[in-house]
Amino acid sequence: MNQTDLGTVITIIGMVLVTILTRSFFFLSDKPWTLPAWAQRGLHYAPIAALAAVIIPEIVMSQGHLIATFKDARIYAALCGVGWFYWRSSLLGTIVAGMAVYLPLHVGLGW
């Protein structure tokens, strides 16, 4: 295995601090302060928007481009997961059903 480098260790400690800083960003100040009303309304849509913005590129893109083939296991796995969720509304089932489609297509057929 590779040698540990002091500079890298310091960088990693810096990353820990950045993780805490970003996630606590608006927790830091004690001063009374509230979001404007429009922003508070906007937050009704933020969680689902964030999830979609994280997930959808992971499903329909590879190497920075929209996929151009239907031979991609991720599409079928995601559709199957969604189908399972609406059938049974089980999160665990969504993961298991999706992977049951994904692994044979991906590992078996190389999709």
Partner: protein, 247 residues
């Protein structure tokens, strides 16, 4: 603190996160494998795996570190990849401000996409009384705490088994499926579906932006459009007779 562990909401938080724990675990496992295979030393992989607790920024920063990029570039990248959590912290602020600063930093450290979404789904509004505040704290501790373990322990296993588990299996996709399930459970109103669709398309369209800023652009686009679409609904409330086309 001990009272929080005994609170029924603590167990409820753990139970809800446990339904997606296999997805988190598979994702953590593959992050461990990827870090270990990329050329970080064992000590570096362990430090990153145990303490950084930010999967996508770990994966984004590792190649930069190995390429010898200056520290500020690595940290700026980690900051930008985490920017969506800055938005989430604005949302969660009224829920945590009764805590001490140290406690708030700890609460923030435990924040991840899944527990942010589960928490705001469970508690749509910040509690106004002491009992409600305690229930929220207990839920957060159980939900986020178990989330931390179900990410970090598989990451360590991934580091250990890096030579046994091929990255090509794509086990990490289970993490995406966990998020897909949560996304479906949130799609409760038509505007929220619009928000998801617009955010996803925008994130794809501007994928080429550096530092994963496409995620932030996606959130902004989805939320902004929904705020615009909301307006006719509010007019309709003022004039109930003319509510056609609202939604």
């Amino acid at each position: 603190m001990r009272e929080l562990f005994k609170h029924p909401e603590f167990k409820r938080g753990m139970r809800e996160i446990s339904t997606v724990a296999p997805g988190i675990a598979a994702w953590g496992l593959m992050t461990g494998v990827a870090m270990s295979k990329s050329g970080l030393s064992l000590v570096e992989s362990l430090l990153m795996g145990i303490f950084v607790f930010a999967g996508s920024s770990q994966l984004a920063a590792t190649p930069l570190i190995l390429a010898g990029a200056p520290m500020w570039v690595v940290l700026a990248t980690a900051f930008c990849v985490n920017l969506r959590f800055v938005v989430f912290s604005a949302h969660l602020r009224p829920y945590v401000m009764h805590q001490s600063l140290r406690r708030r930093l700890f609460s923030g450290y435990l924040m991840a996409d899944l527990n942010y979404v589960m928490f705001t789904r469970r508690f749509a509004l910040p509690a106004q009384d002491a009992a409600g505040v305690q229930a929220q704290d207990a839920y957060w501790l159980g939900n986020a705490g178990l989330g931390w373990f179900s990410w970090v322990i598989p990451t360590l296993i991934g580091i250990a088994l890096a030579n046994v588990i091929p990255v090509s299996w794509g086990l990490g996709f289970a993490g995406i499926l966990a998020l897909v399930g949560i996304l479906c459970s949130l799609a409760s109103t038509r505007l929220r579906v619009v928000s998801a669709g617009v955010a996803g398309m925008a994130a794809v369209a501007v994928f080429a932006l550096p530092f994963k800023l496409n995620i932030l652009v996606g959130i902004a686009a989805g939320v902004a459009l929904c705020l615009l679409l909301e307006r006719p609904t509010r007019h309709a409330l003022a004039e109930p007779a003319k509510d056609k086309g609202a939604e």
